[in-house]
Amino acid sequence: MIAVGEKVLMRGCEAMAEAAIRAGCRFYAGYPITPQSELAEYMARELPKYGGVFIQSESEIAAINMVLGASVTGTRAMTSSSSPGISLKQEGISYLAACELPAVIANFSRGGPGLGNIAPSDADYFQATKGGGHGDYRNIVLAPYSVQETVELTHLAFDLADRYRNPVLILCSGLIAQMMEPVEFMPFREEKEEKPWALRGARGRPSMVIKSLYLQDVELEGHDLKLQEKYKEIREKEVRVEAQHLEGAKLVVVAFGTAARVAASAVEEVREEGLPVGLIRPITLFPFPTDFIRKAAEGTDRFLVLELSGGQMVEDVELAVRGRVPVEFYGRMGGVVPSPEEYLTEIKKRL
């Protein structure tokens, strides 16, 4: 067993599995897909040691519905996949959101659309943050940029999922799944969340129903309004964002996940040359740090959004900035991971 505070070298998806177990995850179902099959492999080996259940399901659709079944009983449950597999899970995620059931879903995204390739990409931003499945719902979306942060956000994901009874999606590129970095783990979670809503048998209490079917329009609207209230509360309380060098910055770079990592390196270099460049890194993609970016727009000349996509988060940055200053975009697609030098060039072009 890995001791608390012991530094180990681990790949991101295996570190996430270890963190999930430590966070109290006791049910995992998934179907293998590159670049994150090692997560399932780790769970298959380790989860039963803690009294948990691992199932390699017959499909991604089965896996997400098994997670729903486990979550109904109050068990901390998760599934993971990569882009095409996550697309298959969307119906189940919509049902989880509608039933107000906690669940953690990890997407180690890869080049798309379609079958695409297995190289790192962050082009599932729209799918993750704007619903993905049908109906008026939101996932909480967390975007780690290192193996260490993957561990920390996995703990947070389970806590937020329970607190808001809502699916939490961890979105990171396949690069973070496969890359090994030094990492330290947090202690095993001891406390048990009170879940009076969980269905574990009705002996000694009135029966309860968890469902997403509301045939009467007004009744369903009432349920939808309740969900909207919850998303409002999440927007107010759960924004997480990191910023550097915003003071006096003429150009502010906005990036998340893998792109943020490369961007941080590039920004550090231009700062050393004395150039006034800042960096904003959204850690929660939903809720998006809209107010934070809006405020930053008051003190800068322009934004540059860097993504491993054709331009997705840039739309949320534009909404936040509301045309106050120009918002520019530079993206690479198809699994191309830009170098810090490439970002450096893009940054300097805009100063």
Binding site: L9, T34, L175, Q178, M180, R261, S339, P340
Partner: protein
């Protein structure tokens, strides 16, 4: 301090284990380090490679297009990776499986190590990648040899425990080979 290394060869030549050992040793020296393997569908005997980045600062990208240092364990790797080495960088070639006549670059430093011959000399050709890693460590000083040896224990799985001593000797022999006349002063590490 920043340096990066690509190790490439056939699957089974110990390419990934060499990269992981270096990464582990760098971690023990409290440096930032990333290890990024080639992943996905590969066939037995197909191409295997990994990239290690070591720095005293945050590492932006674990993916490197033009590495400062490269170890190639076979001819296909020499042909594909030699053109990518940064000018002034270092190329370590397993001379047993990649003939030096195929090497074209004049603007980089090169060390040709008969890694299989050396490995077989100490008991098993399977530790050839450790010979080249030993040479790399001696030539660059990216980590200390002693530290790398002490990390073997953490990297070698139960299944390959019997190779632990051979791995250690292979690292030493590779380093000795460089010490014996192939020491390079400037290896491009900044």
């Amino acid at each position: 301090m920043y340096t990066d290394l690509m190790v490439s060869g056939f699957g089974g030549q110990g390419v990934l284990i060499a990269g992981r050992l270096l990464s582990y040793a760098a971690m023990r020296e409290n440096k930032h380090v990333t290890f990024f393997p080639a992943y996905g569908p590969v066939m037995r005997g197909g191409e295997a490679y990994c990239t290690v980045v070591i720095s005293t600062r945050l590492i932006g990208s674990p993916v490197v297009r033009n590495p400062l240092t490269v170890i190639v364990m076979n001819l296909p790797s020499l042909l594909s990776l030699e053109p990518r080495v940064k000018p002034g960088g270092l190329l370590i070639v397993n001379a047993d499986l990649a003939d030096r006549s195929h090497s074209r670059r004049e603007d980089i430093k090169k060390i040709f190590v008969p890694a299989n011959t050396i490995a077989e000399g100490i008991g098993s050709g399977r530790v050839a990648s450790m010979v080249t890693l030993g040479a790399y460590i001696e030539a660059t000083g990216a980590v200390t040899l002693q530290n790398a040896i002490s990390c073997l224990d953490k990297i070698i799985t139960e299944k390959h425990r019997e190779f632990l001593h051979l791995d250690e000797e292979a690292l030493n022999k590779g380093a000795e080979f460089v010490r014996a006349g192939h020491r390079l002063q400037d290896t491009g590490i900044r």
